[in-house]
Each structure stands twice: as structure tokens, then as C-alpha cells.
Amino acid sequence: MVFDKKNYAPGTHPDLPPPPGTVGVVGWLKNNLFSSLSNSILTLLSLYLLYLLIEGGLSWFVVDAVVNANDKPGCRKIGDGACWAVIVKRFDQFIYGFYPLAERWRIDTSFFLLFIAAAPLLYPDIKFRKSMLIFSCLYPFIAFILIKGGVFNLLTIETNLFGGAMLTVIIGVTSIACSLPLGILLALGRQSRLKLVKLLSVCFIEFMRGVPLITLLFVASTMLNYFLPPGTNFNLLIRVIIMMTFFSAAYIAEVIRGGIQAIPKGQYEAADAIGLTYWQTTRFITLPQALKISIPGIVNTFIGLYKDTTLVVIIGLLDPLGIGRAALADTKWNGLSTETYLFVAVIFFISCFAMSRYSLWLEKKLSTDHN
């Protein structure tokens, strides 16, 4: 400690520097990693764990890994790490499935347009929002025509050629877009004063939430035709999308119901007092507040739905996981399950992590709290 020998008038003494070891790198280390004995042990254990991970992971993932080979024995001849060749050779399939090579620009275009269409919905204060929203409304039709074809000299592509990440995005985006309005209606139905409407909504929601999605997909693939007029037979992809929509609508309904219930009673009393009708109250009072509160929950449901699209592989659609399993069934790549599944896992991690970050950002942006 440095003590100044000069005399200062009260209040004029310059600030002393902080004690050494409490600021800077050393201070940070001391406070965050070695503040106590147990903390130091935890730090050392964590470091050891990291060392094991990096040492083992790096050699398997990168150093000993093989990218260029024609089959698994070819891989093993070059190195005994990961055999990424299986991904490299089938990369196109992981993205486009079996969509014809010459027509893939249509997928690229609709994917690109998706971002333009989604921008005004995702970023509330973007420029030209109004005019962009018109495009967003038109987008589903544009995308459908582009991807499926059949008009304007575009070749019709059968849906059984759809696959890979493109299929995930199609199922995910369509179900998400359809399930939000349905979920809002169900949530309002569940809170309705009309006993019958309430009963029907509760039954639907509880049924959908009570059974595993995979059984619903089985229903879609084996049983749904019984409920339709004899002779109708419609596309498996559409049946799957309908089921996914119903499934996530039930979950979204519960999230929004939570939001509706969180609105203080005074809001409704005020709305009644100024004579708003039920639909005016819903439109101007209930939903704007309820939706804002439920955004994190809604995005979480969407992430769940997006992850759940992998289940379609069990009823025979070829999403990235299905493409991966098809590759593994090939005798050339037999047994490379770790590489394949890790690659698909990383695809999902990137998209889901991005969505959850977006949700955090939006939550902060919309927050009107005073802190």
C-alpha cells in the first residue's frame, strides 16, 4: 500500500489505485476460477475435461480425418479418424434430396425468396415493411409453384423426390405458418365463455398434447384414409404437414393461453368499460399483449417442431436424417453412423441455435419493462 505523506484538505485526496490482484487478468482469474479451494478443483477438473475433448476430438475430427475417398475401406487406408467422404460424396442429396439436378435453381430461388418474405415478419422495424408484407402474403403461392411446378412451363416434380434439408424446411415452414393462426384460435376457444367451444378446444388440445407425435404420424400414414370419403387418396407429404400443424397448434395454444392469462384483469375491465365488443377486445387488447408475452414460448415451440420434423424418417420420408440412413444402408459406407449423424446434428444445431438467439433478441427488443 502506498500512503501519501502529503497533507490534503478533506475531499481532495486523489483516488488510490485498486489493490493489486483484484483487477486485470490476475484479478479475473482469481474471482472467476480460483476464488476458493472447491472452485479451484472444479476449474482443474474442467480444464482436464476440455483437454481430453480437444485432444481426442481434434485428431478424430480433423487430423486423422479423411475427406476424399470412394468408400469406407478407401477411407481407412488413408487415416483412422472420421471418414467425411460419405458426407462429401452425398452432400447434394443432403440438401436437395432427389430433386432433379437441372431444376435445383428453383429450390435455391425459393430459399432465397423465403428470407425476403420472412424479413418483415422477423424484423419489426425494417424499411418498406408494408410493401414487403404484401410479398410475404404472396410468397406461399410463389414457393409452391416454384417447387412443385406444373404451370408456366415448369416441370412438375413429384413430392417423393423431395428430400434432404429442403424437405425439412418445407415441412417446418409450412407447419409453422399454419399452426400459429390455428393455435391462436384454439387458445381463444379455450378461454371462451361459450361452454361448448371451450370443451371442444380443450379436448383437441389435450388429445394432441397427450400422445407422442410419432403415433400421430402413424395415424397420418396408415389410418387417415379411413376418415376420408372412399376413394380419396392424397399425398403423404400433405398428410404429414397437416398432422404436424395440428400437433404444434395445440402446444402454441397452451403458450398463448399462458400469455392471455398473464394479462391483468384491469385491462379487460377497462375494455368493457369503454364498450369494446369481444372481437375488438381480442384484436386491440388481448392479442397484442398476450402474443408479446408468449413470443419466447412460441419460438421454443417452433424449434421443437423443427426438430420434430426428423420423425418423418420413420414413416419413410427422406429428410437429411433419412438421406443419412440411406447412405449408411449402402454397403460402401456401412458403419459410418457417427460421421453421418454428427453432420446432420450440426445442421440442426446451427438452425435451432440461430432461432433461439433470435428469440432472445426479439424478447429484449419488445420488452417494455423498466429495467
Binding site: N32, N39, L42, T43, Y341
Partner: protein
């Protein structure tokens, strides 16, 4: 006339009734349309609605069963075997997930930056990858990277890890084991009663007993004494390599391990976040107040934070347990014979009765979910804070 109609419409009560009648008519029409379609389709295919198939022999094998089963048993018994297998995975999955999830949750709250970050990235990576991928990945790792039984990974010469599953020693009860069971039950009952007693004592006198340690001692010691009294009536069947595979011991199939493990670590990531959010939800004034009246850190946690956090944690925790149980239906992707794979899979394909089998599967899951969520509602009602 039109004036009267308008008047009826403007009256809130009568309008509600009219709207409900309209909804009822539409709904009734929809149901009758569905029923008509189903009966039309059944007639066209020459089928009928009948559950008699449940009692004819199933004719397929199930590689893992908790109650005795062979392929001459009925479809009903196969379904029960499947349901029990679902229960088995759910039970162990929930236990492992809870322990691991609590551990991760504590790490996420830790002030140690490094441990905190590792737990954070673990949680983020795990929960942003679909559960089906977790299951397939672990199954693939066991099947494709573990060695053949001949070169099995040997743990202390009693357990072996192979690509055909894990082989561990199997305890076999011998004469005199009854006392062990009896003492275990007595120890558990004692622990519950002692817990109640000490809670009451604390409320009345403010004095605390080391309940956890005493109970732990009792639960370990009592059964041990029982074993000692009867000269250890337990023997172990140790797995041994015979020919190309292991004999004896307990065989845990790769499917069972992969499924339980994947479900557990996936759910643990969610549980960790629930625990963390629950503890952070307690207003910091509570902690400050507890510290200012001189409670030690562990007392602050046990007496002030946890009792309040429990109210926040338990509802989402139960729904995670429910999710784990429902996710166990993905067993079908790796060939583990659970309810969906038996009744909704092979039985469906063999009998061609899509309607009946799927309805049964859906109803069973629905029963499980609804009973758990009604339990949950009861709990919520009991612990709810009373407000306006």
C-alpha cells in the same frame, strides 16, 4: 319479425346460445361425416371393427421382456410386454435425467466461469439437436465402434462392453432374502416418518436434525444388517465368454442402453435450464434477507431458496418427465420393442387392423399423460400462492 330476431341477437345470453347451437350442428355434421366415411371404407374393404385379434397368437418374437413371453402368446400380451418396456426405459431415463440435470443446473449457476461455460455449451448443443438423432447416434456408436465380444472392453473382469450390448453381473436371490426385503421396506418407512417428525419438530422448536445423513445411514445400514444376519443370501451370475458370445450375467441390449442414455442426456439439458430458471426466479431480496439474519449458505439454500424454487420447478419438470416418456416411442427407429413397436408396429402389420391398434396405442398414451397432468394440477393447486 326482423326486429325481434335482431333483438335476440343483441341479447348477450341468447346470442351465446345461438352460437353454441350453430357450433354443435357443425361439429355433429363433421362427426357424422367422419363416421360415414369410416363405415363406407370398411364396407368397401370388407373389414369390420373388432378387437378379437388381441387374443390370437402374436407369432413374433420380442428380444426383451419383463414378463415371460414367447411367440405363441397373444397380441394382447405382446402389447403388455411393449408397455412394460416403455415403462422400463422411462423409469431409468427419468432417474438418470434428474440426477444429471440437477448436476448441470448447479454447474450453470456456479460462479466458476469455466464450468459454467462448459455446462452452457453442453446444454445448448444437446437441446438444439433432435432427440431422434441422439438416439440413433448413441445406438450407432455402440453398434459400430465398440468391439466384438471376443475383444470386449473388460471392466474389473465382471462387466463387459461389446457391440452386442453390455453384460453385467446379475444378482440372484437365494433362501433367506425375504428378511432383506422386509428390512429395506422398514428402512424406507422409517425414513419417511423421521422426515415428517423432524419437520414438525423444527416448526415447533426451531431445532434441526441432520435428517438427510441419518436417513441415508438407515437406508444403507438396515438392509446390510439383514444380509449379515442371513449370511449374505445373494449370489452373482458373472458373464463369461463362451464361443462367440457371453453367457450368464445380465444382458443390456444396445437398443435399451442407447435409448435410455439418449433420452436421459437430452432431457437432462432441459431439466438443467428448468432448475436454473427456478432458482433465479426467487427474488434476490429473499436471499439477502436470509443472509442478513445470519443463515449459513447451505441453510439459505435449504430453508429459503429451495422451498420457493420448488413451486416454480416442479410443474415444468413433470412435463419434461412426460416428454421423456412420450419420446421413448421413438424406440421404433432402433428396433427396441416398446408399445408403439409391438402393438402399433408388428401387430398392426400382421393383423392389418390399423384402426383398432392405433386407437389402442393413442388411448394408452392419452391415459398416461392425462393421469400425470391431473396429478400435476392437484399439486399446483396445493402449493399455489393465494392472490386476488
Amino acid at each position: 319479425m326482423s326486429f325481434n330476431l335482431l333483438k335476440i341477437w343483441r341479447n348477450e345470453k341468447s346470442r351465446e346460445i345461438i352460437v353454441q347451437i350453430i357450433v354443435l350442428i357443425i361439429f355433429g355434421w363433421f362427426i357424422s361425416w367422419l363416421v360415414g366415411n369410416v363405415s363406407g371404407n370398411f364396407e368397401k374393404l370388407g373389414k369390420d371393427l373388432s378387437f378379437e385379434f388381441l387374443f390370437i397368437p402374436a407369432g413374433y418374437d420380442i428380444n426383451q421382456y419383463l414378463i415371460s413371453y414367447n411367440n405363441r402368446d397373444s397380441h394382447l400380451r405382446a402389447a403388455v410386454v411393449g408397455l412394460l418396456n416403455t415403462g422400463l426405459v422411462a423409469f431409468f431415463g427419468i432417474i438418470i435425467a434428474t440426477i444429471f440435470g440437477l448436476f448441470l443446473g448447479v454447474l450453470r449457476l456456479s460462479k466458476n466461469w469455466l464450468a459454467n461455460r462448459i455446462a452452457y455449451w453442453y446444454v445448448e448443443f444437446t437441446r438444439n439437436v433432435p432427440i431422434l438423432l441422439h438416439i440413433l447416434l448413441w445406438h450407432g456408436i455402440i453398434i459400430n465402434t465398440l468391439p466384438h465380444p471376443k475383444q470386449a472392453i473388460d471392466i474389473l473382469d465382471v462387466s463387459y462392453l461389446t457391440n452386442r450390448g453390455f453384460y453385467i453381473p446379475k444378482p440372484i436371490a437365494e433362501a433367506g432374502i425375504e428378511l432383506f426385503y422386509l428390512f429395506t421396506i422398514i428402512a424406507i418407512i422409517f425414513a419417511i416418518l423421521f422426515n415428517k417428525f423432524s419437520k414438525k419438530r423444527q416448526e415447533n422448536t426451531g431445532k434441526q436434525l441432520p435428517v438427510f445423513w441419518i436417513n441415508l445411514m438407515v437406508i444403507i445400514l438396515f438392509p446390510f444388517i439383514a444380509l449379515l444376519l442371513n449370511n449374505f443370501p445373494i449370489s452373482f451370475s458373472i458373464p463369461e465368454l463362451k464361443g462367440f458370445n457371453f453367457r450368464g450375467g445380465l444382458h443390456l441390449s444396445p437398443e435399451l442402453i442407447a435409448l435410455t442414455f439418449a433420452l436421459a442426456i437430452y432431457t437432462a439439458a432441459f431439466i438443467a435450464e428448468i432448475v436454473r430458471a427456478g432458482i433465479l426466479a426467487i427474488h434476490k431480496g429473499q436471499r439477502e434477507a436470509a443472509e442478513s439474519i445470519g443463515l449459513k449458505p447451505d441453510k439459505v439454500m435449504n430453508l429459503v431458496i429451495l422451498p420457493q424454487a420448488r413451486r416454480v420447478i416442479i410443474p415444468p419438470l413433470t412435463s419434461q418427465y412426460l416428454n421423456l416418456t412420450k419420446n421413448s416411442s421413438l424406440a421404433i427407429a432402433i428396433g427396441y420393442m416398446d408399445l408403439v413397436a409391438t402393438l402399433g408396429g408388428i401387430s398392426l402389420n400382421q393383423t392389418g387392423r390399423e384402426m383398432e391398434t392405433m386407437v389402442l396405442v393413442l388411448l394408452i398414451y392419452l391415459c398416461i399423460s392425462l393421469s400425470i397432468s391431473s396429478l400435476m394440477n392437484w399439486y399446483n393447486y396445493r402449493v399455489k400462492l393465494v392472490d386476488r
